[in-house]
Amino acid sequence: MRIALFVTCLADTMFPAAAKATVLLLERLGHEVVFPPEQTCCGQMHINTGYQKDALPLVKRHVQTFERFDVVVAPSGSCVGSVRHQHAMVAGDDTKLAARASAVASRTYELSELLIDVLGVEDVGAYYPHRVTYHPTCHSLRVLRVGDKPERLLRNVRGLDLVELPAAEQCCGFGGTFSVKNADTSTAMLADKMRHVLDTGADVCTAGDASCLMHIGGGLSRLRTGVRTVHLAEILASTEA
């Protein structure tokens, strides 16, 4: 299958390993990945901070970039959530654009959705010999409703010891600009998330979103815990050979 990569601005700039892993994983599974370079950002930060007018050109750009593809994947539940639940709204009175945005949204998948719902694979042949806990991220869980798809993929990874994260469904406190505008509250939420991660005894905390991992990882690093944050795509792309 020919799959377009919607890399997300954060993975492109700060976490290219997650994006590379997405490409290498899909290619290993026998698919062709294309990267339309005119893509930049889906506009979620602008939309969620109250700047829908500024987001409009970004939504237009996203639609123009991806409407020629049958399947689009992003290594981010949050950005796919924005495409699916916000782009048509930002288009507003421009009903043509809204319809095009909805069409793109209907063909855009978060990685675990693409693998299980579209490609029909639960065992991607990965090998990752570590103790891992999974943080489900709010937008994957409650906006996209990916359910246990990421865990089903992780359970099929050879050598991986998956340990359950207590209070997993609670937000880590990132919330985009929330972590800057309400830094103290965000930190209080992060403190509880980190305590739960450390309670599992895992070496690695994984998730389907680089943004939440940047937040949790930033806290774990500051506390010198030695626990690493690794994107789900990187685990699924790992092999023994």
């Binding site: 005119e38 602008h46 969620n48 406190g173 830094a183 209080a188 806290g219």
Partner: protein, 475 residues
């Protein structure tokens, strides 16, 4: 902005409790520093969440009930003018008197005048969000009338000269030793050997309140529901204090927001299943009192219904925001909210705290008067999942953020960022510039304001040697 029937668009300033003194982040900082408060809140919200979750799981048709509740409320809002007139007609026919209050000042004046006309200098009160919203107690006190709260938690708040911090459990921020101290200091005739044993504290409140119930001739209540086609009012409570207030006095004055309507009696079957399970985690509500006008020889012989707008028609005019009027005040969104669990209710500055408060208060006051509230959420979506009438709180928050006044620097940065991101070559060079300049000095520490909040407790990731698009081009 639209004006309806000459009524004021928003709740007026200088009266009531819809606006805080500080912004949410500033007020939250104070609350977060109180580790006892955080412990109390975490314990209380975790307990209620668990209990509510268990009884909701018992109902196989919970999702259908939610959908029904949502549809009934949407229908009600779409027909509010006709339904309100129907209610007025039915209440009047049953011997009640209906008053229309455009805002808090009018409502306070109407209630004060009604109490004065009875000659009583004291009223007993059933816990009511609407009267808290308009600051009725302060208005009555200014007129020389003593309001006595009869809900236990509300009484604790009143005696402690405090503010409620939760819709359902207004004294959730207090522990039992604090409650003992408040009673000893402020409860008339309290036994000085009072302990902090919960049954002993409840017994002290009961003795004090019983005397008050028996000697007061006027009661003020709110209403959970009003049924348009019968003119029936309903109050849902769990201590029996409401039943006392609604049956013993000679005069009953009910203050109700105009959105509390349901069209028919049968509609209550949906809400009386949804409300107790979502709020207190009970299968059935303990004391459900309903009355229709005046019944000769039984209960209050004078009944007044004050219908309160106070910004509600302005909310109704907003197609996205109007869902906030569907709220049945269950508090489920507070109990699941990770922000509320850490900051408590006072940080929101309004009698409506938590996620529903963050969408309701700014709409009632006008968003410029509560500009920080739509941002008091990480948009995690737990509130939307928990809401028994399916209010899409995250979408309303995003909608209100788009209306909120923005700091000038932030707006400039956002515009510049959007411009850059709409020009891929500019975007790529900005990516490289960020990598080279490393505004963060030592391993992601010490960013300049306003980003220093992030680096106070978190490291920034080290920038990668190359961006994804560089790797892709070179592979």
């Amino acid at each position: 902005m639209s004006t309806f029937l000459g009524m004021p668009v928003h709740a007026p300033r200088g009266v009531g409790h819809l606006r805080g003194d500080e912004s949410f982040p500033a007020a939250a900082r104070t609350a977060l520093a109180d580790s006892q408060l955080r412990r109390n809140l975490q314990h209380a919200t975790t307990t209620i969440r668990g209990k509510s979750g268990r009884v909701i799981a018992e109902l196989p048709d919970w999702q259908e009930l939610r959908a029904a509740g949502s549809a009934l409320k949407a229908h009600t809002m779409a027909h509010l003018p006709e339904l309100l007139e129907q209610l007025e007609e039915k209440v009047t026919a049953a011997g009640g008197v209906v008053h229309w209050a455009a805002d808090a000042n009018e409502a306070n004046q109407i209630v004060t005048d009604l109490v004065r006309a009875t000659g009583s200098s004291r009223v007993i009160k059933v816990k009511s969000m609407a009267t808290q919203e308009i600051g009725l107690n302060e208005a009555l006190e200014a007129a020389g009338i003593t309001p006595v709260e009869t809900d236990l938690a509300e009484l604790i708040v009143q005696l402690g000269n405090d503010k409620p911090s939760h819709i359902l459990v207004p004294a959730i921020h207090r522990n039992r030793s604090e409650i003992r101290e408040i009673f000893l200091r402020a409860m008339p005739g309290v036994d000085p050997s009072l302990t902090d044993d919960p049954p002993v504290l409840a017994g002290a409140a009961r003795r004090y309140l019983r005397e008050t119930f028996l000697s007061t001739t006027v009661a003020v209540s709110g209403a959970n529901f009003a049924i348009a086609d019968t003119g029936t009012l309903a109050v849902v409570e769990s201590e029996g204090n409401g039943r006392m207030c609604l049956t013993l006095p000679e005069t009953l004055i009910t203050v109700m927001g105009i959105e509390k309507l349901v069209p028919t009696w049968q509609d209550l079957e949906v809400f009386l299943q949804l409300l107790p399970r979502a709020s207190t985690g009970e299968r059935m509500n303990p004391y459900t009192s309903m009355w229709t006008g005046v019944t000769p020889g039984d209960g209050p012989q004078n009944f007044h219904l004050v219908l309160l707008d106070n910004g509600r028609t302005a909310v109704l005019a907003d197609e996205v925001g109007r869902q906030a009027l569907h709220c049945i005040r269950c508090s489920a969104c507070l109990n699941v909210c990770p922000v509320y669990e850490r900051t408590g209710g006072h940080a929101y500055g309004s009698v409506y705290p938590g996620p529903i408060g963050a969408v309701l208060s700014p709409q009632l006051t006008g968003v410029e008067d509560n500009a920080s509230l739509p941002y008091a959420s990480s948009l995690c979506g737990a509130c939307f999942d928990a809401c028994p009438v399916k209010i899409d709180i995250p979408s309303i928050l995003v909608h209100l953020r788009n209306q909120a006044p923005h700091p000038r620097t932030e707006a400039a940065v956002m515009a510049a960022a959007a411009y850059t991101m709409d020009h891929p070559r500019l975007y790529a060079s900005a990516q490289r510039a960020a990598k080279l300049s490393r505004i963060a000095g030592r391993r992601g520490r010490g960013l300049p304001p306003p980003l220093n909040g992030w680096t106070a407790s978190r490291d920034l990731p080290a920038p990668p040697p190359e961006t994804f698009r560089d790797w892709w081009r070179n592979r």
